[in-house]
């Protein structure tokens, strides 16, 4: 049984149908990626799985349990956490406060101290900036904070929406190493990315979205080798 199973999801966004019968699954322990051009429905898919958008029809199963009707905060309690596009850190709160909000749900409160240590170990930079207002961090640091904040909820499934957007190439490499590192600790990852080369290298499973439909699925290396698919859908 897959960790996350999405079955024929139809989602309308601002009165326009953004997703058409989208089905996919994420196996436990893997890195799964959704790729595709702009406005192909990647972020909509992520937000729907996180519970920020409600589907018109279809179902979302997490660990075999239907979560379709749950609110976003209830899904965090179940172990699904989204690191939203554009980081969305809380600029007026300190770095530490941002992280504390990450472990707000009841399940995580007790282990907050350990989670904090773990996140600081992963991102020593954040520990240095502990008491600084998060809005004063650099773009790369803010992305680290957003991911760290997500990890504070001890997610079973961590969803990353465009984590590398707007970051310097050196930082992007660091970020992908970190994602692999987090995954190796047992956190399943579902990500949306623009950086296809790197994403296809690290993802075990890749779904290609086009205008709200899944058109191709395969293993990362497969897609990386197949020139036709790369040309047709990924513009590589």
């Amino acid at each position: 049984m897959a960790l996350l199973e999405v079955k024929s999801l139809n989602v309308c966004y601002n009165g326009i149908q953004a997703l058409w019968d989208v089905s996919f699954s994420v196996e436990a322990g893997t890195i799964t990626a959704l790729v595709g051009s702009n406005s192909s429905g990647k972020s909509t898919t992520m937000n729907t799985v996180a519970g920020l958008l409600k589907p018109a029809s279809g179902s979302i199963l997490f660990q075999g349990e239907a979560v379709t009707t749950l609110n976003a905060y209830q899904r965090v309690e179940k172990g699904i956490c989204l690191v939203p596009e554009g980081r969305r850190i809380f600029p007026h709160l300190t770095v530490k406060e941002n992280l504390e909000i990450g472990s707000y749900v009841r399940r995580c409160r007790k282990h907050m101290r350990y989670s904090l240590e773990w996140v600081y170990e992963l991102f020593p930079r954040l520990k240095e900036r502990n008491n600084q207002a998060a809005g004063t961090l650099s773009g790369g640091e803010q992305q680290m904070l957003a991911i760290g904040r997500g990890l504070m909820s001890e997610p079973t499934l961590l969803m990353l929406d465009e984590p590398s957007i707007g970051l310097a190439p050196v930082i992007v490499n660091l970020l992908f190493d970190l994602i692999v590192g987090i995954n190796s600790k047992g956190v399943t990852i579902l990500m949306v990315e623009q950086n296809l080369q790197k994403t296809l290298e690290i993802a075990q499973k890749v779904y290609v979205l086009e205008t709200g439909k899944i058109v191709v699925e395969g293993r990362g290396e497969e897609l990386l080798c197949c020139d036709d698919i790369k040309k047709a859908y990924l513009g590589m």
Binding site: A50, L52, N71, A72, Y73, V76, E77, C81, L82, P84, R88, I89, F90, P91, H92, L93, T94, K96, E97, E100, I101, G102, Y104, V105, C108, R109, N131, R149, G150, S153
Partner: protein, 322 residues
């Protein structure tokens, strides 16, 4: 080092002591001015429990004051005063809980307008009730408690509201509220039940104006819907909060003191000028003092011991310490 550690508690203790002694030693006039200041501090501090932490600006805070005042007027001399005060607060909590559930789903300017509309709705419903059903215009309250008695009640409520705001600020709940202010959707995505948190904050913030209204009705001795539900009360709460600085727990103390003293010195002689001054102050804050007077105070060089007193309650410094 050790000396400095004592400055804060000693200063606070001295202020407390002098506040306690006011009715014994000060003139009736001074006592009533300080009572007014305390009333505004309580109103503004409780308003900030929703507005300051979550950024949801309510223009309905004055309505709770009116509800408290009307409740106490209806049951005066039937129930004992302390119970009336407590019940007034609880009724406002209940009203806020019922009204807040749907209203807090509305965001931004719509929320502001909705709260104003709701408080006007309550006012005109009461006017209708008074005129058409009871056949009266207002209520006259007889055998009200002494000024001294009322002073202590307002002092207690005011301190309670400050303590509540301070405890919330330092709690996990306060952190959730502040995250809502920065980015409500992101907070929700991280597991914060934003609707519930705002609802709780709104209900808590309604408790204090309800009690203050109950006490102040005794001070006013005559109440009618137009006076106690005057939207100007809600506006002044907002203006005072911004004047003091909404990010600071001690903002209301500075704002309320300044504005009450200003109104005392102007109101009697130049009532129209007072309203103009209020308008000018509002424009001035928005343009030049977005952090309010408390924000200004934290930037300029004030003598160390004054800073120490305020450090205890001011927000950014406090957070850096933790």
């Amino acid at each position: 080092m050790h000396m400095q550690a004592y400055v804060k508690p000693v200063a606070i203790a001295l202020i407390m002591l002098s506040l306690l002694l006011v009715p014994q030693f000060a003139t009736t006039y001074t006592t009533s001015v300080i009572l007014n200041i305390l009333m505004w501090i309580g109103l503004v501090t409780s308003w900030l429990i929703l507005a300051g932490f979550t950024g949801y600006i309510s223009l309905g805070h004055g309505a709770f004051l009116g509800i408290g005042a009307y409740f106490v007027a209806s049951y005066w001399q039937i129930l004992p005063f302390p119970i009336l005060i407590l019940l007034s607060g609880l009724i406002c909590v209940f009203v806020a809980a019922v009204v807040g559930y749907p209203v807090l789903r509305v965001k931004g300017p719509y929320f502001v307008i909705l709260t104003l509309g709701l408080s006007e709705f309550v006012k005109y419903s009461l006017v209708y009730y008074e005129v058409n059903i009871r056949g009266t215009v207002g209520r006259i309250l007889l055998r009200t408690p002494s000024l001294e008695n009322l002073y202590y009640w307002v002092l207690v409520i005011c301190l309670l509201s400050i303590a509540t705001a301070y405890l919330i600020k330092r709690s996990r709940f306060g952190l959730a509220l502040m995250s809502i202010k920065d980015d409500e959707d992101a907070a929700e995505a991280l597991g914060v039940n934003a609707a519930l948190a705002k609802w709780k904050a709104f209900a808590i913030s309604a408790f204090f104006p309800g009690m203050i209204g109950a006490v102040m009705a005794m001070r006013w001795t005559y109440i009618d819907p137009y006076t106690v539900f005057n939207p100007m009360m809600s506006f002044q709460v907002t203006i005072t909060a911004f004047l003091g600085g909404i990010a600071y727990v001690h903002g209301p103390i500075i704002g309320a003191t300044m504005l009450t003293l200003l109104s005392q010195s102007l109101w009697a002689r130049y009532p129209n000028f007072y309203m103009i001054a209020l308008g000018v102050i509002l424009i001035f804050i928005v343009m030049f003092l977005p952090q309010g007077l408390a924000g200004l105070l934290s930037k300029i060089n004030v003598p160390g011991f004054i800073k120490d007193v305020f450090k205890n309650v001011s927000s950014p410094e406090r957070r850096k310490e933790l």
